[in-house]
């Protein structure tokens, strides 16, 4: 496919001797929402942590095979630069506790020592928070600490912080699993809007969520990619028995 943003080719990931991802081949198109679905321990999180090269930060972790970001092998790109192009939001909200809301949004710039004018800063804070659907709730308290926000607001702050770097791909690692239903709904709505601008790859345990928000779904089982297809197809007409067993709740 010519419009694929991310392409995994014969990709394997290991923790020491333990092979956690086996021969993954995947093409991810631009401006689509992809869900990685699968039971606990199947390697979902490892898969997306490989894409921004966070996996290799773990002692003993290594990979083989290739991942391409727009035709370029990511293992040839400096991980520091790669992570500015591939943003990641984690399972637990993790705003920087020493920084205000505005500084949290700008953290990717300030921590990297990138100088911005006051106008640029204000502009980035406002657009990022608007994109993360948080602006209206925090616009009067931008100088307060980010950790005073509620869990759902903190998570949207983390999304704003990631969007501020204008990434090409957005990785969401169970970004709503620690949140209440109202916050979850807000973030799902957000994903809907963000897919006009970004390619999104999300991991979730929540099948309803996968069905609601994603265009494509990949089913992972014990480190193997069982199948991937349009989300509708996967949920209504899975080709493999394992996929069917999982989505009908027979295991997982």
């Amino acid at each position: 496919m010519e419009d694929s943003v991310l392409k995994l080719k014969d990709f394997n990931a290991f923790f020491g001797e333990n092979k956690v991802l086996k021969n993954i081949n995947l093409d991810i198109e631009e401006r689509k929402v992809w869900t990685i679905l699968g039971p606990s321990g199947c390697g979902k999180t490892t898969l997306i942590r490989c894409i921004n090269r966070m996996h290799e930060m773990t002692p003993g972790a290594h990979t083989s095979g290739q991942i391409f970001l727009k035709e370029k092998d990511i293992f040839g790109i400096n991980p520091v630069l790669l992570r500015r192009k591939i943003g990641m939001v984690f399972q637990r909200p993790n705003p920087f506790p020493t920084m205000s809301i505005a500084h949290n949004v700008l953290a990717g710039y300030s921590l990297n020592g990138i100088k911005l004018s006051k106008n640029e800063r204000n502009e980035i804070v406002e657009t990022s928070l608007k994109d993360a659907a948080l602006w209206d709730e925090v616009k009067d308290k931008l100088s307060q600490k980010g950790t005073f926000l509620s869990g759902g607001q903190q998570q949207r702050l983390c999304i704003a912080r990631t969007l501020a770097m204008k990434p090409e791909v957005l990785l969401l690692d169970e970004a709503t699993s620690a949140l209440d239903p109202v916050s979850t709904a807000k973030i799902e709505e957000l994903i809907f809007q963000l897919k006009n601008q970004y390619t999104i790859l999300m991991v979730t345990h929540n099948m309803q969520q996968a069905a609601r928000v994603s265009d494509k779904t990949a089913f992972l089982f014990l480190g193997e990619l069982i199948e991937y297809n349009d989300t509708k197809e996967i949920f209504t007409n899975p080709r493999h028995k394992k996929t069917q067993d999982y989505i009908t709740g027979r295991f997982g």
Binding site: V80, G87, F90, N94, F96, G108, L111, G113, R161
Partner: protein, 282 residues
Amino acid sequence: MADPQIKWRKIKNDLFKGLVVFLSLLATLPLLLILFYILRQGFSSINWSFLTNLPKPVGESGGGISNAIVGTLIIVGTAAVMAIPLGVLAGIYLNEQRNSKVARYCDLAIDVLQGIPSIVIGIIIYEWVVRTMGGFSAFSGSAALALMMLPFIAKTTQETLKLVPNHLKEASLALGVPYYKTVLKVIVPAGLSGILSGAILGIARVIGETAPLLFTAFGNPFMSTELSKPMSSLPLVIFNYATSPYEDWHQLAWGASLILILIVLTLNMITKFIESRWKIQF
């Protein structure tokens, strides 16, 4: 409540609670007694001239300990300048590279260094610094105290940084922040209050050390601010005056003890203040 069994349980509860409170108060009793006794003994000798005058020869009344106060500040200050940067860096290293063999070896070495008796550190510094420099000096005293502070500061830094959650580090790395900037701008600031209070507690711990100063800074009856010369300090003054046969010198020793304890108390209060004020909720 009418049930006698529940009533009995309540009595047991109250008894236990009372016992715990009583024992906690009992544990603070020695401190209160020490403070009270030193306050009573030392208070009478403290006045403005005690703080600003130099010691007088035996037989002459009056005299102060200004040289010892200045000396303590210089010796401990120099020790802090040497030990704090090194200790904090060592603590960062121990926390960041906790899986490496070298770090585990350093960790052990720091534990052992912390256990070396202060008198032994005094002798070592005497051999290494005093003899090579050709005489007693304030600097050698600072070196001895720095050696005592170093493991304490490294350990408190390590313990503080251990509490900084890993997800902050990941958040920073995932934003494309290089590793060293992540450590310096995210991890260390998140533990700054703990590192600072550890450094101040380190100072409070060594400020009263006498043994390592006996054969290093040595003491000096005159005002000296030169690091290369012998220098007086509060613990040395207390040691010399208290072991002398003269009653009025004993008084001066009590006064100096009170000053020393007040300094230690102040440092401890500053630590508490920093911890409560700058404490970061994760």
